[in-house]
């Protein structure tokens, strides 16, 4: 079984969980950094690292509003990110075959 056909940006446990959770929201809906961190139970630094990789690939957008303690960061899965997840799922199906 080879992993070459699987998108390496998504094919990592933390990033896979991030994308799956964001994909559960309706199109265009964003989630706060704090809520996402609570759901994933990752440290802030770890989460930021994975979010940056996904953002660099164009799979999500983030927006920070406010300053200092009042700042709020929202994260949203882009259309490209949603499409990449579907492509990833199809690649997984091809690899695993009928279960």
């Amino acid at each position: 079984m080879t992993n070459d056909s699987l998108d390496p940006v998504i094919h990592a446990p933390a990033r896979l969980r991030i994308v799956a959770m964001l994909a559960a929201l309706p199109d265009g809906a964003s989630v706060s950094f704090t809520r996402l961190q609570d759901m994933l139970e990752l440290t802030p630094g770890n989460l930021i690292t994975h979010l940056r990789k996904l953002e660099d690939a164009g799979y999500l957008d983030s927006e920070t509003t406010g300053n200092g303690r009042a700042s709020r960061t929202s994260i949203v899965l882009t259309r490209q990110g949603r499409a990449a997840l579907h492509t990833y799922i199809n690649a997984l199906r091809d690899l695993l075959g009928p279960l």
Binding site: M1, A12, S30, M39, L51, L95
Partner: protein, 220 residues
């Protein structure tokens, strides 16, 4: 992204080189289910059962009344408490589900919630008041109308909302509620409560059941 949190930067060890596709599929499925559980807005099963019990109590307390005088004070209080509990549970679930979530869909849900609340709060009481004013009997004012009218009025509101979103399971459930309300209007003041309770239970539980496979569509 909040770069002030960089003090805990990850080592980058969480790459997928060692992640087996089968394990990835399991993780994807588990994460999707967890997210859907956390973002799920309504405790539909609980609401369906609570409403069935409430409406069933109304039916049980009025079924031997000839002529119909309406539910007893105790049962009426029980029903108000049940409705208040369902409402409070729904609000709590909604707030918990939408904490930290924003966007057009969340704003739309709030508007839909207001439309449903207004149609529920105003619809039946206005009709009851008007009918009482024009001399309608207790069987109509305190039996048929409060049992059937909310289903028809609120159901029609939800039919419109669901149709505009293309949410066909919700559309079908709301249409079933309207049909159940129409039936309830013709089965007598006591039977109307039973018909309404069964209709709401079937529609809510049916919709909850239809929603599960719909949400699982990205499973591998």
């Amino acid at each position: 992204m909040p770069r002030t949190h960089d003090i805990h930067l990850a080592t980058g060890a969480d790459d997928g080189d060692g992640l087996d596709p089968r394990e990835a599929a399991r993780l994807l499925d588990q994460s999707t289910r967890e997210a859907q559980r956390q973002f799920n807005l309504n405790p539909l099963w609980v609401s369906g059962i609570a409403l069935l019990v409430a409406y069933g109590s109304l039916w049980a307390s009025t079924r031997d009344q000839h002529p119909y005088t309406g539910p007893s004070l105790g049962v009426g209080t029980l029903v108000y408490v049940a409705v208040a509990v369902v409402f409070a549970a729904s609000v709590k679930a909604y707030r918990s589900a939408t904490a930290g979530v924003n966007g057009p869909s969340v704003r739309q849900q709030r508007v839909e919630g207001i439309a449903i609340l207004v149609s529920f709060v105003l619809g039946s009481p206005v009709l009851q008041g008007a009918l009482k004013h024009h001399g309608a009997g207790d069987a109509i004012v305190y039996g048929v109308i409060p049992a059937a009218a909310p289903l028809i009025i609120v159901g029609t509101t939800v039919v419109g909302i669901a149709g505009s979103k293309g949410d066909w399971p919700q559309f079908a459930a709301a249409l079933a509620v309207v049909a159940g309300g129409a039936v309830a209007a013709f089965v007598g003041p006591s039977g109307a409560w039973l018909a309404a309770g069964i209709t709401l239970f079937v529609a809510l539980v049916g919709y909850a059941g239809a929603d599960v496979p719909r949400h699982r569509r990205i499973e591998v």
